[in-house]
């Protein structure tokens, strides 16, 4: 039961973890390029306010294999604590460790550039290796397919992604497949107009919708109660974009929590992070 509770918590957290691949929207993926031979490292601190508190630190390393092919390695570090009453006694349960390693490749299949404008479409495929700590691992090799689109036009940016994750069985437990969908709009508010010369740092206001629909978890072929459902966040945020580092913060408010009975609901998710390229 503890294992399942950890997986459910990780599953909810992964709305952001997956989104942390390399986002322009803070929780939404982006199709912008990473230069050939270049690296981007991204990390966040994500705090989920729920009956089971979960802190997630997604570590993402991005490598530009070519101008159109980008590789991602994602290794989340998770910390979960919960208080509960057992036989009239107040108990606490805390655990931390790495989650499963996720490897992804993104291939740009469409790119159209113009002055102050770019429009790109990328396809993503990858897998999740059961390398994490027991409490945070699915114990199965899972697969992910998806697409991501970005339109940057002057002070406006739109990002959208869609992912399907095929979860397989591990240790007699098979998490349901997941569909993730994210949409982000960003508005550059500073500087409102670019200067005649140079490239200043920029501040963006971000609004996102981040959703995930999961099928029920199965054990021995039978569906488990209290698993599966849909959660959608509305996520305002802010980004400070410099040439080398991006600082960002996001506050995710659940607007849809259509979860199977018995699941703990999320009150909010707070995230703060940085991205550094080198």
């Amino acid at each position: 039961m503890t294992h399942l509770r950890g997986l459910v918590a990780l599953s909810i957290a992964s709305v952001g973890v997956a989104g942390a691949v390399q986002a322009a929207g803070i929780n939404t993926n982006v199709a912008l390029p990473v230069r050939e031979g270049g690296y981007v490292y991204r990390t966040q601190l994500r705090f989920l306010d729920r009956d089971v508190d979960l802190h997630a630190i997604p570590n993402v390393l991005v490598y530009g294999a070519t101008a159109r092919t980008t590789l991602f390695g994602i290794l989340p570090y998770l910390s979960r604590s919960a208080g509960f009453t057992d036989a009239g006694l107040r108990q606490s349960d805390a655990v931390d460790g790495f989650g499963d390693l996720r490897l992804l490749v993104r291939q740009t299949v469409y790119a159209r550039d113009a002055l102050q404008r770019t429009s790109r479409l990328g396809l993503l495929a990858g897998l999740e290796i059961p390398s994490g700590k027991d409490e945070f691992s699915s114990h199965s090799t899972d697969y992910q397919l998806g697409g991501v689109y970005t339109l940057q036009d002057g002070r406006h940016e739109l990002d959208a992604d869609l992912f399907y994750k095929i979860n397989t069985e591990g240790r007699g437990l098979e998490l349901g497949d997941e569909l993730q969908y994210n949409l982000a709009y960003q508005l550059r508010v500073s500087p409102w107009e670019w200067p005649e010369r140079g490239t200043p740092s920029q501040i963006y206001l971000v609004i996102e919708a981040n959703g995930k629909t999961s099928q029920e978890t199965r054990s021995g072929g039978a569906k488990l109660d209290g698993t599966g459902g849909t959660i959608v966040f509305l996520s305002p945020g802010v980004q400070w974009v410099t040439r080398r580092v991006i600082y960002e913060g996001s506050f995710q408010i659940p607007v849809v929590q259509d979860l199977d009975d018995g699941q703990v609901e999320t009150d909010f998710v707070a995230a703060a992070g940085i991205r550094v390229q080198f």
Partner: protein, 179 residues
């Protein structure tokens, strides 16, 4: 002591003159399409800095213009600059240069040859809609006249492009006798 000071000053003057004389290609202006945030300009600049001869860069995001300073005496390689932009994932639009050299003929084409680096630039004319045309007889005559039939150095500005196996070509948009 005074002798040493004078010597040092002369050496410094000679070095400065030599450095100035070696600079045959002025600022290179590379225009890039697709730039819309500072994080992207970093990637382009990192790629461009790997091109031999590039010593400094400044990117203006509003216009997509990357101003490039080449090392003194370094030849200009437009294909390498374009390739660097492509490797960063963006689209090179055009490259403009200002070149100083002597009017010569290269493979029966009018050209400008830098006496400092020996690099030759074929001279062409801007055509309609971003195309290039052979140098007209009229413009060639004006260039010959201004250079006193090749005895005076010329400074030529214009868009540069390259073809495999050929020297880069400059589409003459303006020119003057070099000081």
């Amino acid at each position: 002591m005074r002798f040493n000071d004078v010597t040092l000053a002369l050496v410094a003057l000679l070095f400065a003159s030599a450095t100035f004389a070696l600079t045959s290609v002025g600022e290179v202006r590379l225009y890039v399409e697709g730039l819309a945030c500072p994080f992207c300009t970093f990637g382009i600049e990192k790629s461009l800095k790997k091109v031999p001869g590039v010593v400094s860069l400044e990117t203006t995001i509003r216009t997509g213009l990357v101003r490039i300073q080449l090392e003194s005496g370094a030849p200009l390689d437009p294909a390498a600059l374009n390739e660097a932009v492509k490797k960063s994932g963006f689209t090179p639009s055009r490259i403009e240069v200002t070149v100083t050299g002597t009017l010569v003929t290269s493979n029966e084409h009018p050209a400008l040859k830098s006496s400092e680096t020996g690099q030759t630039f074929r001279l062409v004319e801007p055509g309609p809609e971003g195309t290039f045309e052979l140098l007209s007889a009229e413009l060639l005559e004006r260039l010959r006249s201004a250079s006193a039939n090749g005895s005076e150095r010329l400074t030529v500005s214009g868009q540069v492009h390259s073809h495999a196996g050929l020297p880069p070509a400059v589409a003459v948009e303006s020119f003057e006798v070099a000081p």
